[in-house]
């Protein structure tokens, strides 16, 4: 079943390349890129992010938080942090963890030692009672009534199609092979099969602890010298192997192909996002 799935997915996502499109396959990836001016050599964003600037814009959450804070006045404190004031190493728009040599040198593997984000929404020390919960839900309904919901569904599906293309990309597999060879000097005894699974247990033993349910949570400990050493080499090897570029290429090709198969829906989403964005601006202008 897995093999059948791989074949089906390969055929759908990887087999549809430039100038190979038939009428059934919609517009080719190359034609979609040309139509919208997408050039992956000049951006780190995949097509859904580059071509729809409003997609997953942190402004959405900001406007909703502003409405929540106003609505919950007198019920519970609700803290609003503007997007430009956020300090997380996780990209607010893409949701992806930043990782390069600079980050590795400072944090080791940042997911294990991430700097605390601003304490957003309800302060951490506040226990949300059923009464507060009810008020919060009522406020959420009001926010939805004013803003509607973001027209993200098709775009999320397109983005997901991009991510699913990564494991079956030969370019990514080549980059992973190079990364493996590059990582040998680190002597990591349990080096995982791919960079996205780093770091392994031998590196994280001090940085995360097993909880009662057998999962792992950050321990709060600072990164060890060994962790930083491996993380820095890892970041160098990813760069040398062209891993991030290969991942972006695989995602971009699959996303463009998916857009080409649903060009009308994609256009509709772009238009709907422009309308949605105006509502967000109104709220931010009023309450921000």
């Amino acid at each position: 079943m897995l093999v059948a799935g791989m074949l089906a997915t390969s055929t759908l996502l990887a087999g549809c390349t430039a100038s190979q499109a038939t009428e059934d396959e919609g517009i080719s990836a190359q034609d979609v890129a040309a139509r919208y001016g997408y050039d992956e050599t000049t951006t780190s964003l995949s097509p859904v992010y580059a071509l729809v600037p409003q997609f997953h814009d942190p402004k959405d959450g900001y406007a909703r938080d502003l409405l929540a804070a106003q609505c919950l006045t007198g019920v519970v404190e609700y803290r609003v942090v503007a997007p430009e004031e956020q300090t997380s190493l996780i990209g607010q728009r893409t949701g992806q963890l930043e990782f390069d040599e600079q980050v590795a040198a400072r944090w080791g593997y940042p997911q294990l030692h991430m700097p605390a984000d601003a304490d957003t929404a309800v302060p951490d020390g506040v226990t949300i009672t059923p009464e507060i919960q009810s008020a919060m839900q009522a406020c959420g309904q009001k926010a939805d009534e004013r803003l509607g919901t973001p027209p993200e569904r098709l775009l999320n599906d397109i983005e997901d199609a991009g991510w699913q293309a990564v494991p079956i990309s030969s370019e990514v597999q080549d980059a992973i092979s190079q990364w493996h060879a590059c990582m040998e000097p680190a002597g990591v005894i349990d080096l995982p099969s791919q960079p996205s699974e780093m770091p392994p247990a031998s590196i994280t033993s001090q940085s995360q602890v097993e909880d009662a349910q057998g999962n792992f949570v950050p321990s709060g400990a600072a990164a060890s010298d060994r962790e930083k050493q491996v993380a820095e080499l890892d970041a160098q090897c990813r760069s040398q192997a062209g891993y991030d570029r290969a991942v972006l290429h695989a995602r971009a090709d699959a996303e463009l192909t998916a857009i080409g198969k649903s060009i009308e829906g994609f256009e509709a989403s772009r238009g709907a996002y422009e309308d949605y964005d105006k509502k967000l601006d109104e709220v931010i202008s009023e309450l921000g």
Partner: protein, 131 residues
């Protein structure tokens, strides 16, 4: 990140854009209230049965229940909870809002996707955090 039968899901995804697919919603009888205040919770079965199989206050990398999650709920204080396909907060992800933000705060059956995606998220989640 895992390889799955995506071709059919992609087709479903595009059908969803035309409003042909039902979106997730909380069922009338659910135990998502077993998720402690301040936490986001995950269950390996649909519809939040009993105590959560995984929960977190700031972030978590799943081990015992990795790639086994089928229903999720956000009962945290923060603005948004993110649930990732890959093990270190990378790759595809889905989100649940703080209730005061509106939108979706829990999902009883990830095989149907969520309100924001028609992609099948059954048995995919490997890590999660608050933002």
């Amino acid at each position: 990140m895992k390889l799955r039968l995506r071709a059919a899901r992609l087709a479903v995804g595009f059908a969803a854009a035309a409003g042909l697919v039902m979106v997730g919603a909380g069922p009338a009888s659910a135990n998502y209230t077993d998720c402690s205040a301040g936490y986001a919770c995950m269950w390996t079965s649909n519809n939040y049965p009993g105590s959560p199989n995984a929960s977190y206050y700031t972030a978590i990398v799943l081990s015992s229940s990795s790639n086994l999650i089928n229903s999720i709920s956000n009962n945290g204080n923060s603005s948004i909870a993110r649930f990732y396909d890959a093990s270190n907060y990378t790759g595809a992800y889905i989100t649940l809002n703080n209730p005061a933000r509106g939108g979706q705060t829990r999902d009883p059956m990830l095989s149907n996707g969520t309100d924001a995606t028609s992609s099948n998220w059954s048995n995919r989640i490997s890590s999660a955090n608050f933002a």
